[in-house]
């Protein structure tokens, strides 16, 4: 009854009509509740559709080769570790005699048994193992450097009246806007001249610089939020600047530092253009390496999917951990939730 009266009131709205009866706007009508349910269902469908490519990748990673390339694509399949074995190992096909001999052995580990069941023997780790560890080393080292240096600069920019502060900050941000391909040519020539081409140190320094502008801007935002009065009180109490920085500012922006670090880690982990052009063998990271697997022995989609999935899972987990700070991260700290 109540709801129909509300509808009636709404049916003749506008400046020309008299307000016949008042409407309660703080109450959830059955119609509004229906709307919310509809939104919920629609959102679930959209989220599912958006995630289909990621789910498909995870599924393909656990398929055997024929299932991965079946036409029409298979939704239901027998899980297999083929992709991961292909990803991590170099293998050789065994002759019948060698196979029988190997099967007698009892000292084999899980992966060796899995490979043996496919009539193959593991020769050693594949290149991907070293590429993944390169990715880890380079991403973590450059993140530590970028956050440390960024934190110091951010503190100075936040707390001191530095002449030309706005211009410096503008300059720092503008370096981030440069397209990778544009700066790579001179950096490539520079690295080749000083022997940094295809080295870990070269990549770590490059990613540090690449992330610095971001970490300065984001951390400055976090430090700006800490009331300056805390430090002033500490200084009055006889702390030195460095002590105040260490004992007052650092503990206050631990979450900010963590969020910044994770963003830097993701950028370095995902970076492709620099790695493609400035590394070849020794320091090659995973992003340029995974597509390169395409050529070898036809397209091994299950192997590619396994590699991609291992590569993407950390990022998915981190996205959840970071969800509060995502907005801040993607806008260089300009917008705070």
């Amino acid at each position: 009854m109540a709801s129909t009266r509300v509808e009636h009131a709404f049916s003749r709205v506008g400046p020309g009509f008299a307000v016949v009866e008042s409407v309660r706007v703080d109450q959830i009508t059955p119609r509004a509740r229906l709307g919310i349910t509809a939104r919920l269902i629609l959102s679930i469908i959209i989220a599912f559709v958006m995630l289909i490519p990621v789910l498909w990748m995870a599924m393909t990673a656990f398929k055997a080769r024929p299932d991965a390339t079946a036409s029409p694509p298979k939704v239901i399949f027998v899980p297999s570790l083929d992709g991961f074995i292909g990803l991590f190992t170099n293998r050789t096909q065994l002759s019948a005699a060698a196979l029988a001999e190997q099967q007698q052995r009892t000292d084999l580990n899980f992966w060796e048994r899995q490979t043996l069941a496919r009539g193959m023997r593991i020769l050693g780790p594949s290149k991907f193992v070293s590429q993944l560890s390169n990715s880890l080393i380079i991403a973590i080292s450059s993140t530590i450097l970028a956050v440390t240096l960024g934190l110091l600069s951010a503190y100075a920019f936040s707390r001191y009246d530095i002449p030309g502060k706005r211009d410096w900050l503008f300059f720092i941000l503008s370096t981030r806007m440069l397209p990778a391909v544009v700066v790579t040519i001179p950096i490539f020539l520079m690295y080749r001249a000083v022997g940094l081409y295809d080295t870990h140190v070269g990549m770590i320094l490059l990613y540090t610089v690449f992330n610095l502008s971001f970490s300065v801007w984001l951390l400055k935002g976090f430090i700006d939020e800490i009331p300056i009065e805390y430090e002033e009180a500490a200084l009055v109490d006889g702390y030195s600047r460095l002590q105040a920085f260490r004992k007052i500012v650092l503990p206050q922006c631990v979450t900010g530092i963590a969020a910044t670090a994770v963003f830097c880690l993701i950028f370095a982990w995902n970076e492709y253009a620099f790695a493609l052009m400035l590394t070849s063998e020794k320091a090659r990271t995973a992003p340029p390496a995974i597509p390169a697997n395409l050529g070898i022995g036809g397209i091994e989609w299950h192997v590619i999917a396994a590699g991609s999935m291992l590569f993407l899972i950390p990022v998915v987990i981190v996205t959840f951990a970071l969800r509060q700070y995502l907005l801040r991260g993607v806008t260089f700290g300009a917008i705070r939730q």
């Binding site: 709205v13 409407v23 694509p73 240096l149 397209p179 490539f188 597509p291």
Partner: protein
């Protein structure tokens, strides 16, 4: 430590002088490493490639750079392939930014309401944005595959022989589709924060004034979200002009040069074929000028937002 001793000793004047010197030292110490790194890795290379852009040079040969004045720029501006690359980039940027804006804003309007699990769903939708573009692009090759891929099946083409072959016949549209899939959530994230900042009482007041939902949208929602929406559009436009990772993963610029964006053209010029380093540096400068023009608008806008 020394400061506290000095305080005990009662020498306030000296402490003040010393603290100021310390402060300046700290400023220098804290900021210098950052600036030195940025200058060495960004400013110096830019000057170096400015020099190279006026020379004829190939990094694979032994010959040193030879000064040829504006020869590279003349050649570039008369090269129809370069114009084609800019046209591809422009079309790609226009199509993907437009679709992302519409879809992202739509998603934000949908997810703004307070219902159960809304935070979880928002985060799930945001996942594509965080992934590595090159790996995403490469995996979409399988998804677009006419025989083994699920894309055609999902949009209703059940027969592989009549279904469109996306990466061959509609390569640029395929890149746009993946880009929209990845980056609509970004627009959504920004719009959501704009929507959440609109106070409820404005809508309540509008309700009391009998404003229709349509009118509420145009007069309240849109004007409030507009600054953030514009920010998202600017940011995506800059990124679209830089498009490289996704295109390399998905099509590698092909087939032929249908999806060859400026960045991909630049990469091919230096690292594939004849290694025309001097010419590529010139092209890099042309790209740089375009990006700087757009970026300046963006940074100016960011600063304005921070002040507001």
């Amino acid at each position: 430590m020394t400061t506290s001793e000095a305080v005990a000793g009662g020498e306030p004047l000296r402490i003040k002088a010393r603290r100021q010197i310390n402060d300046r030292a700290i400023q220098q110490l804290f900021i210098m490493p950052t600036l030195v790194l940025l200058i060495l890795w960004n400013v110096f290379p830019l000057f170096y490639s400015l020099f190279l852009s006026f020379t004829q040079y190939s990094h694979s040969g032994k010959a040193p750079p030879v000064w040829i004045g504006t020869g590279n720029f003349d050649a570039l501006l008369n090269d129809p392939k370069i114009w084609a690359a800019f046209a591809v980039t422009g079309r790609y940027a226009l199509l993907s930014v437009l679709s992302q804006t519409l879809i992202g804003f739509g998603l934000a309007l949908l997810l703004r309401a307070k219902f159960k699990a809304n935070g979880l769903l928002t985060t799930l939708i945001l996942i594509p944005m965080m992934l590595s573009p090159v790996i995403v692009g490469m995996f979409w090759r399988l998804i677009f595959n006419p025989l083994m891929g699920i894309f055609n099946y999902m949009i209703g083409f059940w027969n592989p022989t009549t279904a469109p072959i996306w990466l061959k016949d509609h390569a640029l549209i395929s890149v746009v589709i993946v880009d929209v899939w990845m980056w609509s959530p970004f627009v959504m994230l920004l719009c959501l924060s704009g929507l959440k900042a609109i106070p409820d009482y404005i809508y309540e007041a509008a309700e009391i004034d009998r404003a229709s939902p349509w009118r509420q949208f145009w007069r309240i929602t849109l004007p409030h979200v507009a600054p953030l929406l514009l920010l998202a559009v600017l940011f995506r436009t800059i990124e679209a002009f830089k498009a490289f990772d996704l295109v390399m993963g998905l099509t590698g610029g092909g087939p032929g040069n249908v999806t060859e964006t400026v960045s991909v053209a630049l990469y091919r010029m230096v690292f594939q074929g004849q290694a025309r380093t001097g010419m590529a540096s010139a092209l890099a400068y042309v790209v740089l000028i375009v990006i700087i023009a757009v970026s300046n608008v963006y940074i100016w806008y960011l600063n304005k937002m921070k002040e507001a």
